[in-house]
């Protein structure tokens, strides 16, 4: 028989059908179903194929611990693979596919891998593909041959390459108490803390709060437990100081009580509104944390344990009680503990017949005996399942079993059953507690690891702490909540519970050794024999075992396999489980989509930084380029122009008439205070204290180790008021450098620094007609040579806007930098353009700016690259001998004045072909163009003035090589050819034009 919907029962809304498709087949479930329950209700047992052997697998669990039933969700044109069917809420129109099968789930070619099963044991790849290259297909060569096939076959689901249209968001949250887990213990803890007035966040990974109370069938406070839980959840939701986050998995516990959580905001909706995020990633900073994460049932490992129709007993009980689904008609139970007896009664009540309860123990509790009676069976004590048969489970095979020796004996005994519910006991879900630090503690009574002694400010409640009853959950939950709120334990009576008095201690039996493939980790197809093989091959550490066999890896993180795997390893080593230890739990607890981690950051890691004239540039055809965060015009291209043609035209306009370029991006720092001049003397290599008010000076800064840091002009606007400019790229770095010295090294200096980069819009007007342009539009000041000499500063107005003009030049032409308030930037720019019209003014971009500066031999960040010194750049004339400055103590180190250092030169392409940045300069090249590098190109362009391709380079010997020839060697771009090394001052070396 197939699983089916029971005639009654469950909390689903049977009046509201929900349509969905699985592998293209239309099916129907009900409001409140999970995909897993709906599939079972539709008779679907086979849900997926296993990772390695492509074995048929069915639903095994009912939550995040599901290892088998991973499916691909198809939504919004996107495939999202490897989602457990147990965690997908059913909604109208849901489309899912099974995965890791071809051509279909029922008939999968990949299943042929089972024939090669003995070869595909633990460490297969390491053994097969390593070793010396001794033949045509050995070792690494064999790997190289096989790799493409293996990679194609690897993995489970197939991800999509299309952009994900969903919206993801992030949230920062702060609270006094974070409660993780919305079961009975979590609800009690949240209520206790909230009643004390604390700001509480309660996070629950399931859609609804209540945990096992939703399907346990117990009573709390004389009410059905589900009703009690729903009532408390509703009260909490109404409290102003409580934030309830359902569908929220807390997946990481980090230092400082910072926890990461994923809220699935819109996955459960048939149509997610465009403004609603699909997921929200929460970063929660909590003063105190209460972990009420419950426990996870584990299986018993036995031959044939992975057949569809075998499921954890607690999961089977939940499907019956919460979703009204019967996973089978004739059900066998196999257990080492009392909890499965409850499953038997629930399944029986839902309409199934209980074929047998097979218990490895020889004695069971009175409560368990009573439940067995309720289920209508006499338990087969001292027995174990040693095999199963049927494509879909038809029979389970039993033998006598001695829990003391672990040996089976006697004849096999088949029992007809279409479903087997298995329980190997319960492990507290210690994942987050372990992530918080500390070593888990083994508990012999529970045969499970308990959470470590807290290393951070958290406490546990409920099953996490080993209290496996509802009464314990109520008690520990309230205690933890009150303690987190700084309250003493309460003496008030707790709600009464009505629950069976089961023995929570399982028999220490987690494997039945009876021959045949017995799977420990279903998701990665790791068998008990693989674990023993790994041990025989020397992998005795549990961490090594994990990596060698992949036990406990992948999406389920070994929730069902860890303890059985450890038990097998411990037995193989002849030690106890606690001696074998456990692997360290690490985030994430369960998979987190990359989209949720990235959230809005995918664009805003780099926010767009725009100059005041940005919109003007766009309106006038500028092609923009990114310079750090800034967007700057590269060229103002005209129809049909290449980039080179455009910048050559723009540069010519500057040399022949006048051009204008946006220099707002230059870093600008207000340096103010009575010690400002002294401060500048210390940070610059040259002297600024002698600079007169109304004048500017070019300055160079070194790092402490004598390497050049940055350059720029600094303007003295008042006796105690300087405006420092930096390169665009280094503005932040220079600001930090200066603040460091003021705060920590020279706190006695009375100097204040303020970033004013954004206060000013800057336009450089350059070219022989630049003075004409300014004269045509400026008022309130003269700009003649006497009023405004080279490096002079004047204040005036342009079209009503106050401006500050400094005569300085980066292009080598007569030039002015016009600064105005940023909010007046476009206004002043347009006024300059209008005034420049009669003189042929042309806007120019970064390419022309670069070409002009290369022709002049001016350095930028390409040359001040963190490796060069002032001397390397022939800026030693700026190194004051009259005063110390940052870097002066170390700039003359032997290595920094070595004659073999690379130094600044100009180079000219002798084959009239473009050069490339970063290309090597070689002396004696081979026939292949290679050779010993003597330096590299830092910048290059086509020079409109020289009508040649030129560049700047850092070359060993520098000036000494002027007039010599070398070769450019650029194998990456296949560019080789002759160059001549010349002075870096290509154009107007005397500077007549800018002084003119």
């Amino acid at each position: 028989m197939s699983p089916r919907r029971a005639a009654a029962g469950g909390t689903i809304d049977r009046s509201r059908p929900v349509g969905f498709t699985f592998d293209g087949v239309k099916m129907s479930g009900h409001e409140g179903d999970m995909l897993a329950s709906a599939l079972l209700a539709n008779g679907v047992l086979l849900v997926g194929r296993s990772f390695k052997y492509h074995r048929p697998r069915g639903i095994f669990a009912a939550g995040a611990d599901e290892p088998n039933a991973l499916v691909t969700v198809l939504r919004d044109g996107i495939r999202e693979p490897n989602i457990p069917a147990t965690q997908i809420e059913l909604h109208e129109g849901l489309r899912v596919e099974s995965q890791n099968r071809f051509p279909s789930l029922d008939y999968d070619f990949g299943a042929l891998a089972q024939l090669a099963g003995p070869l595909l044991s633990a460490g297969f790849y390491y053994k097969t593909f390593m070793g010396p290259v001794a033949g045509p297909l050995k070792g690494t060569r064999l790997w190289m041959f096989c790799e493409r096939f293996i990679r194609r076959a690897a993995g489970l689901g197939r991800a999509d390459h299309k952009p994900d249209p969903a919206r993801y968001e992030r949230m920062n949250a702060f609270c006094e108490v974070l409660v993780v887990g919305g079961g009975v213990a979590g609800l009690m803890a949240a209520e206790a803390a909230a009643k004390s007035g604390k700001r509480v966040i309660l996070a629950e990974q399931e859609p609804r709060l209540g945990g096992m109370a939703r399907w346990s069938g117990e009573e709390i406070g004389s009410k059905p437990a589900r009703e009690w839980a729903e009532g408390l959840a509703a009260r909490l939701a109404r409290m102003d100081n409580v934030q309830v986050l359902s569908r929220t998995t807390v997946w990481g516990y980090y230092d400082g009580n910072t926890l990461a959580a994923l809220e699935r905001v819109g996955d459960h909706l048939p149509r997610r509104p465009g403004d609603m995020p699909r997921h929200r990633h929460w970063t929660i900073r909590a003063a105190k944390v209460i972990l009420a994460t419950g426990s996870i049932e584990r299986p018993i490992v036995f031959p044939g344990n992975d057949r569809p129709g075998i499921m954890l007993a607690g999961a089977a009980m939940r499907y019956a009680a919460e979703y009204g689904v019967l996973p089978g008609e004739k059900i066998a139970i196999f257990t080492n503990n009392d909890s499965a007896y409850r499953a038997a009664t629930v399944l029986k009540a839902a309409g199934a017949s209980i074929a047998a309860i097979i218990d490895v123990r020889k004695e069971i509790s009175t409560a368990a005996q009573a439940l067995a009676g309720e289920a209508g069976v006499v338990p087969l004590l001292g027995h174990a399942v040693v095999g199963t048969s049927g494509k879909r489970l038809q029979r389970v095979i039993l033998r006598r079993f001695d829990p003391q020796t672990g040996l089976v004996s006697g004849d096999s005994r088949p029992i007809s059953a279409d479903f087997l519910a298995v329980s190997g006991g319960w492990s507290p879900a210690i994942h987050l507690a372990s992530q918080a630090g500390g070593k888990p503690r083994w508990d012999d009574f529970l045969q499970a690891f308990l959470p470590p002694v807290p290393q951070q400010d958290w406490s546990g409640a409920g099953a996490l702490t080993g209290g496996m009853t509802t009464a314990a959950a109520l008690k520990t939950g309230r205690s933890a909540g009150r303690a987190a709120a700084g309250q003493k334990p309460s003496r008030a009576r707790l709600p009464q519970t009505e629950e069976p008095g089961l023995d929570p201690s399982p028999a220490p039996v987690l494997e039945i050794r009876a021959g045949g493939k017995a799977f420990v980790d279903f998701q990665h197809d790791v068998t008990a024999d693989d674990v023993r093989l790994a041990h025989r091959e020397g992998f005795v550490s549990v961490e090594h075992l994990k990596r060698y066999t992949t036990l406990g890896m992948a999406t389920d993180q070994g929730r069902t396999s860890n303890v059985p795997g450890l038990a097998i390893l411990a037995e193989a080593r002849g030690i106890s489980i606690p001696e074998a230890g456990t692997t360290r739990f690490r985030p994430p607890y369960s998979p987190v989509p990359i989209g949720a981690l990235a959230a809005e950051r995918h664009r805003h890691f780099k926010p767009d930084r725009l100059t005041p004239m940005h919109d003007w540039h766009l309106e006038h055809g500028a092609r923009m380029m990114e310079a750090g965060l800034w967007h700057r015009p590269q060229i103002y291209g005209q129809a049909g122009e290449t980039v080179e043609q455009a910048y050559v035209r723009e540069a010519k306009a500057v040399r022949e008439a006048v051009g204008i370029v946006d220099v707002s991006t230059l870093g600008k720092i207000a340096v103010k205070g009575p010690d400002a001049a002294e401060f500048l003397d210390r940070v610059y290599t040259n002297i600024f204290s002698t600079l007169k008010v109304g004048r500017a000076r070019y300055g160079l800064m070194l790092r402490e180790d004598g390497i050049a840091l940055d350059d720029g002009t600094t303007w003295r606007l008042g006796e105690h008021d300087f405006l420092m400019t930096t390169t665009t790229a280094n503005a932040g770095k220079v600001m930090q450098h200066l603040e460091y010295y003021l705060d920590l090294v020279w706190p006695e200096l009375r100097v204040h620094l303020t970033s004013v980069t954004d206060q000013w819009a800057g336009a450089a007007v350059a070219g022989p007609r630049s003075r004409d342009v300014l004269e045509a539009c400026i008022s309130g000041t003269g700009i003649d040579d006497e009023t405004l000499p080279f490096m002079g500063i004047v204040h005036g107005e342009i079209d009503g806007a106050p401006v500050m003009v400094c005569r300085l030049s980066f292009s080598g032409e007569l030039a002015y930098e016009v600064y105005c308030g940023a909010g007046h930037g476009i206004h002043v720019w347009e006024a300059l353009m209008e005034a420049g019209g009669p003189f042929g003014i042309a806007p120019y971009g970064m390419e022309a700016l670069g070409a002009l500066r290369i022709e002049k031999g001016h350095v930028t960040g390409a040359e001040i690259d963190g490796r060069t010194t002032a001397r390397d750049l022939y800026l030693d004339w700026m190194l004051s001998k009259k005063k110390p400055f940052i870097g002066s103590a170390l700039m003359d180190r032997e290595g920094l004045i070595d004659k073999g250092r690379i130094r600044l030169v100009g180079i000219v392409s002798l084959d009239d072909r473009p050069l490339g940045g970063g290309a090597h300069i070689v002396e004696d090249s081979t026939s292949e163009g290679l050779g010993t590098s003597i330096g590299h190109i830092t910048a290059f362009c086509y020079s409109p003035q020289l009508e040649r391709y030129i560049g700047l380079a850092l070359v060993k010997g520098g000036k000494a090589r002027h007039g010599t020839r070398a070769r450019v060697s650029d194998p990456l771009r296949d560019r080789f050819g002759p160059v001549e090394i010349v002075s870096h001052h290509f154009f107007d070396p005397e500077g007549k034009r800018m002084h003119g």
Binding site: N172, F174, H604, P607, T754, A822
Partner: protein, 195 residues
């Protein structure tokens, strides 16, 4: 006098942008005042600086870190040790502050063009801002008329809570458009109006 141009450009679209439920829980507006200055005191001169701010603007700023004060025309926000961001509806704020802050007290730097102020109002503003900043915006920890300096990725932000449901956020002008777009994106879930 030439009008100052907003950096928000085409990203500023006045109107209502409700969410799927028709709600607009946020109101966004550009609220850059006419005058913005940064005033800094020399060590030991903090009280003198606060007095000078008071004389220039009528504000009584507290000494505590993150202190802020506001009146009808002006507001001041402590943005660091001995450092205040002062804003005013008056264009001549810089001149008035310069007149009051003696050289032996500290310095005043005009930032009227360099910073953009964006106002975020509404019952969902704590929720929305929590998406962007790792700051506890709860009223008990971030009460009205306090402020702080923080950052959203590369965007440095000085935040003044000027009311229970109202924040003024100062960002560098060059990043204002990117930040504005970010705010709109973050407000889409709750719906918003742009004024």
């Amino acid at each position: 006098m030439v009008e100052r141009e907003s950096p928000l450009g085409p990203a500023f679209e006045p109107g209502a942008f409700p969410n799927h439920a028709g709600d607009t829980g946020i109101r966004l507006s550009e609220a850059t005042p006419a005058g913005i200055v940064e005033a800094c005191a020399w060590p030991g001169m903090e009280q003198a600086l606060r007095n000078a701010i008071g004389k220039a603007t009528g504000l009584r700023v507290g000494a505590a870190a993150n202190a802020a004060a506001s009146n009808k025309d002006a507001a001041a926000l402590c943005i660091g040790p001995s450092r205040y961001l002062v804003r005013s509806a008056r264009r001549d704020l810089f001149e008035r502050m310069q007149a009051e802050v003696a050289p032996e007290t500290g310095t005043v730097t005009d930032l009227s063009h360099g910073r953009t102020c964006i106002r975020v109002e509404g019952n969902a503003c704590e929720w929305m801002l929590s998406k962007l900043f790792a700051v506890d915006f709860h009223l008990t920890t971030f009460p009205a008329d306090t402020g702080l300096a923080t950052a959203h990725h590369d965007i440095f932000a000085q935040i003044h809570r000027s009311g229970e449901d109202r924040f003024e956020i100062f960002v560098f002008r060059s990043l204002a458009r990117a930040f504005w777009r970010e705010l709109r994106e973050a407000a889409a879930e709750t719906g918003y109006e742009v004024e």
